[in-house]
Structure formats: structure tokens, C-alpha cells
Symmetry: C2
Subunit: 434 residues, 2 copies
């Protein structure tokens, strides 16, 4: 049974705090193993990749076999059904359209003191996308990571995807092709992250690495951070649904289960202003769990981390939502827009009962890589901004330097940084001579 909390109960605050603080994932201590793998790839390059791939993915690689050839990709994507291809292309088009609007603008202006200021955005030159192999090899993740990179203008986009026992997922390759990925490599694990960060004979290094992965991949990303940029380290998925009694309990139940089925550590929470509705949703979840393919996983998530919270009104629901700072937030209420502006901390908001969260996973347009574990308090989902960086620009005229230079010199002296002050003074002296 999931947790059932009622804001009217005496122990509510304590129970809610416990729910917030529940540790859903034990960090696996793989750091030493990962450090050794990275050192090995740095030292021995391709040869290390070949040996590690033989060991972990049970397949023979060679420098020539490292990268998928165009013909190999052609053959694999030909296996995809026209319907699946159409769905991927539909999704890709919508994701591209959404992310194109995120492109920031360069700015330049001259201020009253005569200084010309501004900034310019430029793309990261080369990015690498890690794609997990096996069951969690999701074509939707390829679209969600690769399309923002290409929209941002990344020239060289490489994918690494393990192919255990030599088996590749045709949908992943098709998604990569649709997204415009330039290079696809048959390597995975920490060794793939090391290859992307440091390069080998066959894989040129990149500047930024994104994409999901297991504990080894996450640890490797943390280790190479600084050498390259990385995206966030994602935790287990979460959904918070705020729903009033005017909803179909079964719709809300499947929405909750669509996160619960990801992972036994996933979390689905319902906040409602109607206790009876909360019970109906719970019953609907139990009923769906009887037949769901992934009922073992979804059932464990629901039992261990699921929760129904009854509140006196939607104002309190908004307050609790901000404390949860959910990755995904569905607002199934009469005025979802009105409620949404009272909530500050959420990765993505789905407005109204006709917007199940799964739309956002695939075809809505916004990114499905979103902040987990309450990090929506301070971070955002993946976007084109993750593949851009800003260079600030400043230009002084002699007049501008005369106007603002003395303040710089004064502060430099106050901070005992003499040469800073001298670099301004040398120029001001010339102006005074002139």
C-alpha cells in the first residue's frame, strides 16, 4: 500500500517531511572501478575499449568496427516499420520546433558612459551523447538529447551505444539519423564516457557529454566533469499529480503508473482535495497493476514510494508541490493555468486532464530530460542552452575609460591588486598627456 497522508491529521507535517526525505536510491560505490577504467582508456585508447567491450558486452571489436558505417545503419534502420518511423519523425519535428524557440539572442549596446557592451552565444564544437544499451535503450532519449545539440549548432555530435552480444536497436539508430547525429560508436559503460572525454585513436574527444546511464556511467560523468561539460546526473523518475474529484480515477491511475513503471525507485504522488477521490485512484492503480506488463516494477515503486496526500484546498496543494519540487507535475483541475502560476519549483508542468505526462516523454515538444530529486528548486531540464555558451564583450573608448576607469583603479587599490590598477592608470595617464 502507498503512503496515505491527510493534511488534517496531527502528524502530517512529520509524515510529509519523512516522505520528502525518503532515500529512494542507494548510491552504488563504483568509483574505484570507474577510475581504473578511465585511466585504462586514457593510457591504452582503442585497445582498452576493445578489451573492456569483450568483457562487458561479450563482443569482438576492432578499431575498424568501432564506428557504425553508413551501410550498417542503412541496413538496421530498414528494419523499422513505416509506422514507427512516422511516429519518430512526428516526434522529432515537434521537439525541433520547441527547441528552436529556445535559441537566445546576441546583444550589443552602447551605454551613457560610452562603453559598448554585449554578449555572443556560440555552440559547443563537439558533443557526445551516451545512450544506454539493452532494455533501457530508448529512441526517445536520443531525440531529446541530440535535437537540442543540433538546434544549438553543434558541428560534431557523436553517440556511444553499447551493443551487448552485438545486438543493436534499430529504433535508436533511426532516431540518431533523424536527429542528425554524425558518428555512432559501439561502445558503452564508463569506457565510452572516458573515450568521449579524452579521445582514443578511433574516437575524437568532445567538449560536452550528455545522456542517461547506469551507476558506472554516472560516476564516469562526474569524474570527467571539468575536462568536459556534462548534463545533470539524473535520479529515478517522479510524478506529482494534483487532481480534484472531477477526474476519471483511472486516467490519474495510469498517469501515476507511467512513472512507477520506469523503476522500482520511481515515485508517484497524488495530491487531491477529496479523500474519496484519493481512494478511488488507489483502487484504480491496484486494478491496473493486476495486468500491467511491468507490474513487478510499478508495484514495488507504488508500494514503497507512492503516496496519496489529501489537502483541504488547492492552495495548500500548490504549497506542498513547491516543497516537493517534482520532475513532472500534472495539474488536473478546473483552472490549471491559475494553479500553475502559484507553483515555482517543477521541471515540467502538464496542464489539464487532456495532457498526460507521457505526451511530454515523446511528442509534446519540451524536453523529457528534467531535474529529479528536488533539484527543480535550482535547475532546469535539458535545452539548447546546454549546448551553447556565452562570451561577454566589452569595448571602451578613451572617453568611456575616462568616465569609469578611475572607479576600477580605486577598487583595484582597495583590493591590493596593484597591476590591475596600473593597467588602467597607464592609459589614463596617456589621455591626460594628450
Amino acid at each position: 500500500m502507498p503512503h496515505f497522508l491527510n493534511a488534517a491529521d496531527a502528524g502530517f507535517e512529520e509524515d510529509f517531511a519523512a516522505l520528502l526525505g525518503a532515500k529512494r536510491e542507494e548510491a552504488q560505490d563504483v568509483d574505484d572501478a570507474v577510475a581504473a577504467i578511465i585511466a585504462d582508456v586514457r593510457e591504452r585508447g582503442d585497445q582498452a575499449l576493445i578489451e573492456l567491450t569483450a568483457k562487458f558486452d561479450r563482443m569482438e571489436l576492432s578499431p575498424e568496427r568501432m564506428r557504425f558505417t553508413t551501410a550498417e545503419v542503412d541496413d538496421l534502420v530498414a528494419q523499422v516499420s513505416p509506422e514507427d518511423r512516422a511516429a519518430l519523425e512526428h516526434a522529432a519535428g515537434r521537439i525541433r520546433g520547441y527547441h528552436a524557440r529556445q535559441m537566445p539572442k546576441d546583444e550589443s549596446w552602447t551605454d551613457p558612459e560610452g562603453a559598448t557592451l554585449g554578449w555572443r552565444w556560440t555552440p559547443v564544437s563537439a558533443a557526445g551523447l551516451y545512450v544506454p544499451g539493452g532494455l533501457a535503450s530508448y529512441p526517445s532519449s536520443v531525440l531529446m538529447n541530440a535535437i537540442p545539440a543540433k538546434v544549438a549548432g553543434v558541428e560534431r555530435l557523436a553517440i556511444t551505444v553499447p551493443t551487448p552480444d552485438g545486438v543493436a536497436n534499430p529504433l535508436v539508430l533511426l532516431a540518431a539519423r533523424i536527429a542528425g547525429v554524425d558518428e555512432i560508436y559501439r561502445v558503452g559503460g564508463a569506457q565510452a564516457v572516458a573515450a568521449l572525454a579524452y579521445g582514443t585513436e578511433s574516437i575524437a574527444p568532445v567538449d560536452k557529454i550528455t545522456g542517461p546511464g547506469n551507476a558506472y556511467v554516472a560516476a564516469a560523468k562526474r569524474r570527467v566533469f571539468g575536462r568536459v561539460g556534462i548534463d545533470m546526473i539524473a535520479g529515478p523518475s517522479e510524478i506529482l499529480v494534483i487532481a480534484d474529484a472531477d477526474n476519471d480515477p483511472d486516467w490519474i491511475a495510469v498517469d501515476m503508473l507511467s512513472q512507477a513503471e520506469h523503476d522500482e525507485s520511481a515515485q508517484a504522488i497524488l495530491i487531491t482535495d477529496d479523500a474519496g477521490f484519493g481512494e478511488k485512484v488507489t483502487a484504480a492503480v491496484e486494478k491496473r497493476l493486476e495486468t500491467l506488463e511491468r507490474r513487478e516494477i510499478a508495484g514495488a515503486s507504488w508500494r514503497d514510494f507512492g503516496a496519496v496526500i489529501v489537502v483541504p484546498d488547492l492552495e495548500m496543494a500548490a504549497q506542498l508541490a513547491d516543497r516537493i519540487a517534482p520532475e513532472h507535475l500534472e495539474l488536473c483541475v478546473a483552472d490549471p493555468e491559475g494553479l500553475s502560476v502559484r507553483i515555482r519549483h517543477a521541471g515540467a508542468i502538464f496542464l489539464g486532464a487532456w495532457t498526460p505526462e507521457a505526451i511530454g516523454d515523446y511528442v509534446g515538444g519540451p524536453n523529457h530530460v528534467l531535474p529529479t530529486a528536488r533539484s527543480a528548486r535550482f535547475s532546469s531540464g535539458l535545452s539548447v542552452m546546454d549546448f551553447l555558451k556565452r562570451t561577454t564583450l566589452a569595448k571602451m573608448t578613451p572617453e568611456a575609460l575616462k568616465a569609469i576607469g578611475p572607479a576600477a583603479e580605486r577598487l583595484a587599490i582597495a583590493e591590493s591588486l596593484e597591476a590591475h590598477g596600473l593597467s588602467v592608470r597607464a592609459r589614463l595617464d596617456r589621455l591626460n598627456e594628450g
Copy 2:
């Protein structure tokens, strides 16, 4: 003597690669000590802060003394000269003006398939700024970190600043007051970072921590990352100057020294298309080093990491600049704008000989917290964006769901995520009934 490289020499590529790869800072291994300090603060709160402050800063704290009172700040800032105050206010106004232009806009639109999409930016609720104590306690850093936070709309902004032997820097307090900081605490080191991340009886936790610090502070920020957001971990300062022979060698020399004086690990590089000019700058540096207050530090930086690189033309200078990806880049050439657009990787560019880098450290307007150690390839300086996060928004109508829902369902099935598909199917079935 600094490194003297000439692109015409046979060994140039090797020498340049060695210069790029030079390790300027040995990571101090303080991680175990920092882990213990963080655990102590989490467990014992204020009492741990009091004991650690007695040990490291040689001063008695108490829960009541932890935070500066308004009267205490009043007394300290009254010690600041009117000239220094005016310089700080001048700088603050310019920094505020620049960062106000960085505020991104919310967006919302309805697309041809009937989906309403968009995003909304909201500020981090509470941020903490670490300010070093002692010699490196820079009021300019307070302005550069605090102003973007306040421009972004952060409601609660706390500063921690150690006051060794009880001595506080009046300019730091005045900068905090001018920037609108809400709370100032007399704690420093890893214990201050732990207090900001986890909270104690006297210090409420924050969501984001920024600001420079020593190896302990950097290690603590790495450790609390995930619990809270952090800014980058800054390395030693760097400047690259591209200058032709039409410059005053002394101006270029003091510009180089203004970074070299920060730290023995700082790096100043000149690229010029005139070998004779390179020698003149070297001579001018040596001359300035005879009298510079911080000549020990600046001299060591220049000797160990300084470099003059002679190139055949400015096109090659631009190419090398991109490989260096400098934190600060001065373009002292006839057409600085023309050259700047050929360079993609730089934290901040200073255009023309009248724009010494020190202007950007204090009063130019752009932030002086910038990516070091070649990380300008994939990251940007501090900005209001570091204190904002984006929530994506999506709303389907029944018609929109009919148009795009089937693609989502299809991809969910392809990924073996049945409940994802069912959450769309349940709604499509209702529409088909209706």
C-alpha cells in the same frame, strides 16, 4: 623567463600542445577532511560551526553572534571612505545594468496541432554566497555574485564570510549592503558551505551556493552538489592578449601582470604577429616586475606559465585562441570586432587597446566570474541564468491529443513502457466513444 614560441619553428605544434596541457594546479587532497566537516555540521549544527570557527578562525562564536546585526554592519561600513563607497556604487550600478539585460522572457504559443506550449522562468528561492576571508576577501566578488542573484529575483540571499581573529573587511560588508544581501554570517571554510547546504539552528538552508574559495571550499561545494546547485569550480586566472606591433608594450605588459599577480598558478599569454614586439613586451614585463608590490607572485606566474607566441598572421592567432579557450581575451588590434567573430571559445573578450581586462574585473558591467582551464569550450561566466530555472509547460486539447497522441502511444509501445501508452489510450478511447 616565460615560454617563447614561434609558429614558424619546427617544434611549434609540440610546444604549443605542451603549453596547453601544462598542469598549473595540483589538486589538494582534502576530500576526507571536508567529508568529516560536513558530517559534523549536519549532525551538530551550530555547535559544530562554533567549534570549527574557534579552531580555524581563532574566534569565539555563539548562536547569537553567528549573524552580523544591522548595527554591526552600520558601524563597519561607516569606516569606508566616501571615495571607495562611490567607486563601489558606480561599479554596482553598471553591473546591475548589464545583468538586467540578461533576464530571459517567458514564452507561450499554440502550434498548428492545437498544443499550447511554452516555458516560465522563476528564481531560485534562496541562495548562499561564499566570500573568502583574509587577503582574498574581495568586495568586487561580492558585487559580481550577489547582483545577478538579486536581479534574478532571489528572495533570500545569504553570505558567509570568515572573520579570522574577528577581523571583518568593511568594504565586503558595504558591497553586500549595496548589492542587497539579506543575511551575513561570520563563518567560513567547508563548514560554511555545509551550513548553507543543510542548514543549522541559526542558518536556514539555501538552494544554490556560489562564490570562490580555497581547496576546502571547492571540495565542499563538489560534495553538496545535488543537494543544492553550485556554480563552477574556478581554477587559477588566465589572460590571453592578441596584440599587433601598434601597441604600447608597457600597456600590454601591465595587462598580462594584472592576471599574473593573482596567483603563482595564473597564466598570461601574448600572441603577436611581430616577434620584435613580443620581445619588447617581455622587457616591459621584466621592468614592471622590478617594482610591483606583488612581484613575487606575478614573477613566479610569468616565469612558470607565461608565454609569448609569435604567429605569421592574425588568422592563426584566432585559431590558437580557440584552442586555448581563454578566460579573458584582449584583442589589441586594428579591427578587434572583426577578429572577435573568428573566435568561438572565450569567457570574456575585451575589444581594443582602450579596454584593459581590469575594467571587466570591476566596473565594465559583465561578470568577472568566468570559465577557466579551457572550460570556455563548454561553459559561460556567471549570469542571472545561474539564479533562475525554467519550467516547461504543455497543454493538450482533446483535438491536439487526437493529433499527436497516437505517435506517443506508438513510441511507448516500441519502448515497452505499457503504462505510458495506456495513459494516452485511456483518453483517446474516451474521445472515440464521444
